[in-house]
């Protein structure tokens, strides 16, 4: 193995065990860490020191873009390109323009939310080193995993592995690159 190592992975049976271990990992000064669980685990964010994502701001911008796109489209169509009086309403009849603007706001926000999430998560990623560990398939079923990556400045293969083994894990694996 030697240098071709991506990180050291530890497997835990329960969520509580993993969160407790994650706190110790954080307190030991490791920063390039990650946890894997079969469902969203709120405590892990603080245990690993994960900061709040910027995603909500992106979604707001996405929604605003939708709103303006809707208005721009309607303004262009009914005021600039093809002004025509219908039902005695002014060219710029804002109240009647609201429903499409509203729907486009939601549409653009939803697209930003989903594709923004996938983009920030770096998905799709069909290959990831952790998939090399056969037991890792259980991360989508019942087990909890914690990893310290080799890129961590504090990472030292021997020492980190020994540290991980002392955290009450079921098993500790070396993850090849």
């Amino acid at each position: 193995m030697g240098d071709n190592i991506y990180g050291v992975l530890a497997e835990f049976d329960t969520a509580t065990d993993m969160v407790d271990a994650a706190v110790k990992v954080r307190d030991a000064g490791y920063t390039k860490t990650d946890a894997f669980s079969p469902f969203p685990l709120h405590e892990i964010d603080e245990a690993l020191g994960i900061k709040r994502s910027i995603l909500p701001y992106l979604i707001f911008v996405g929604g605003l873009t939708g709103l303006l796109a809707g208005f721009g489209l309607e303004y262009f169509v009914h005021v600039i390109d093809y002004p025509i009086i219908v039902g005695g309403r002014p060219h710029l009849s804002l109240p009647a323009f609201i429903p499409p603007m509203y729907e486009l706001t939601i549409l653009f926000s939803a697209f930003t939310a989903v594709f923004g999430m996938l983009f920030l998560n770096g998905l799709p990623s069909p290959y990831h080193p952790v998939f090399n560990i056969p037991r890792f398939a259980l991360a989508t079923r019942e087990k909890f995993f914690l990893i310290i990556e080799a890129s961590d400045p504090k990472f030292d293969h021997e020492e980190t592995r020994k540290f991980m083994e002392g955290l009450g894990a079921q098993e500790v694996f070396d993850v090849p690159e």
Partner: protein
């Protein structure tokens, strides 16, 4: 004081029954999709649904070959089965979004095991709904420039002041956002299927569909933000969609349509019809796939209660329509009410509607009926028929006698109206059968969060909590929640 836990149980009944662990939940739900043998009843059901769906294909071909003259609608009843069925289907879809979005925001845990197939129901119902207005244009291939604003060689644009264009935007946004919401919910479950599939091809397909999801904490963090925001976006969306559908009617100056009560009345009706359809689907489903541990008796009772509440709002709508007609003292309004309820040729449809939607749900006040699957199923079927009749009454009785008596005419559907309607029901069930076979019918990862195992130091995994404000309970020694 004998048992606090008993009382607690009564107030918050467990949403997962039986003795389950993460593994057993995963296996039980994913086995429906992954296990080798497809049950025999699946083939029977799929076969019947698929055959009925062929009727839709035939009807569409006949319609396109001959024009919409093959339908029964003609002046003055220019809107009939096509719009009745459109509103009926789209209304059914609304319960799916209500369950997935609004109940999520309200932190109603019972939504967790029914949201997946309720959302699938939404998608398929919207697909059926969208067909009707599109085909009503007669030449759907030209409808592209009637409906969507794109620079075309004729240099013309759709009319954005028209509720019909609002409807295009509302329904297409609704379909898209529902699909996104459903798919985002499926990503972690597709990853589970990928990791459990034995078959190489299934494994490959699920791997593609899961985008390489690996359950990383950072991914879950953004995932939950996305899910919660999508719920927050879908809530006003679903309310706007049926409001805009009701604008198709209420913006027109036809007595019986031109009423301010329409948007809330339509939204309540949509949720009412949708819950009826969810019950129709989930009562047999939980038996066929032995999902009683996840779709519990409590779920059915809750849905019955929602149906009763929304049904009563709808009844209030009926009462107000009559009241407005009388109190407005407008002769056309009052004539329409009389025509609709007792003087006109379609009086029977109104009273049938009242029996189906008004009287039948009164049974739900009683525990005996509310807790019986048989009665819930029967009432749901009656309500579905009732909600279809509601749109029939609103559309046909308002149009058949218009302002000029010389233009009065009767409406009756023709064979191709019926085949197309029945065909969409077959299409709907065909898609549902495929969904049940290839996609986990219950959200596996969300059911995992309901298990006591999921608690860290006894702290529940709640969706409604701000992801960063969760009180970290590491230092505390409080006992786990029982």
């Amino acid at each position: 004081m004998q048992n606090v836990s008993e009382l607690e149980n009564k107030l918050h009944p467990p949403m997962v029954e039986g003795d389950h662990s993460f593994a057993s939940v995963t296996d039980k739900i994913s086995d429906v999709t992954l296990k080798k043998r497809t049950p025999f009843h699946w083939f029977i059901g799929f076969g019947i649904a698929f055959m009925i769906a062929q009727l839709l294909m035939l009807s569409v071909i006949w319609l396109l070959a001959n024009g919409i003259g093959v339908w029964g609608n003609n002046q003055p009843v220019g809107w009939a089965f096509d719009i009745i069925n459109f509103v009926w289907w789209i209304g059914i879809g609304h319960a799916g979004t209500l369950i997935s979005a609004i109940l999520l925001l309200l932190n109603q845990k019972w939504r967790t095991s029914i949201n997946r197939f309720a959302e699938a129901m939404t998608l398929f119902a919207v697909a059926c709904a969208a067909m009707f207005p599109l085909l009503h244009t007669g030449r759907p291939w030209l409808a592209a420039y009637w409906l969507f604003p794109y620079p075309n060689t004729m240099g013309i644009w759709p009319q954005f002041r028209s509720p019909l264009i609002w409807d295009v935007f509302a329904v297409s946004t609704y379909a898209t956002v529902s699909l996104l919401f459903w798919y985002v919910g499926l990503i972690p479950d597709f990853a589970t299927l990928r990791d459990r599939a034995k078959n190489k091809y299934f494994r490959f397909v699920y791997a593609i569909l899961s985008w390489g999801w690996r359950g990383s904490a950072r991914h879950w963090h953004r995932y939950e933000i996305t899910y919660l925001i999508l719920a927050g976006l879908s809530t006003p969306l679903v309310l706007s969609v049926h409001s805009i559908v009701s604008f198709d009617f209420s913006v027109a100056q036809i007595p019986g349509w031109h009423a301010t009560i329409f948007p809330p009345y339509f939204v309540a009706g949509a949720i009412f019809a949708g819950f009826a359809m969810v019950l129709i689907l989930c009562i047999p489903l939980r038996h066929w796939y032995r999902m009683q541990d996840f779709i519990t008796h409590t779920h059915l009772v809750y849905m019955g209660k929602v149906m009763l509440a929304t049904g009563l709002i709808v009844c209030y709508g009926y009462a107000m329509e009559g009241f407005f007609g009388w109190y407005s003292a407008a002769q056309y309004e009052w004539f329409m009410i009389k025509n609709r309820i007792w003087e006109g040729p379609y009086w029977w449809s109104y009273w049938l509607l009242i029996i189906c939607n008004g009287l039948s749900i009164q049974l739900l006040w009683f525990k005996r009926f509310r807790e019986s699957e048989f009665w819930l199923f029967l009432i749901s079927v009656v309500v579905s028929i009732g909600m279809w009749l509601e749109r029939f009454v609103i559309i046909v009785t308002s149009l058949n006698r218009d302002f000029l008596p010389s233009s009065w005419a009767m409406y009756s559907p023709r064979v191709w109206d019926w085949t197309m309607f029945i065909g969409t029901i077959g299409f709907f069930f065909t898609l549902l059968y495929l969904f049940v076979r290839f996609v986990p019918i219950i959200s596996i990862f969300e059911v995992r969060t309901l298990l006591p195992e999921a608690n860290v130091h006894g702290h529940h995994q709640d969706f409604e909590e701000n992801v960063n404000e969760v009180e970290y309970t590491y230092d505390r020694t409080d006992p786990p929640n029982s």
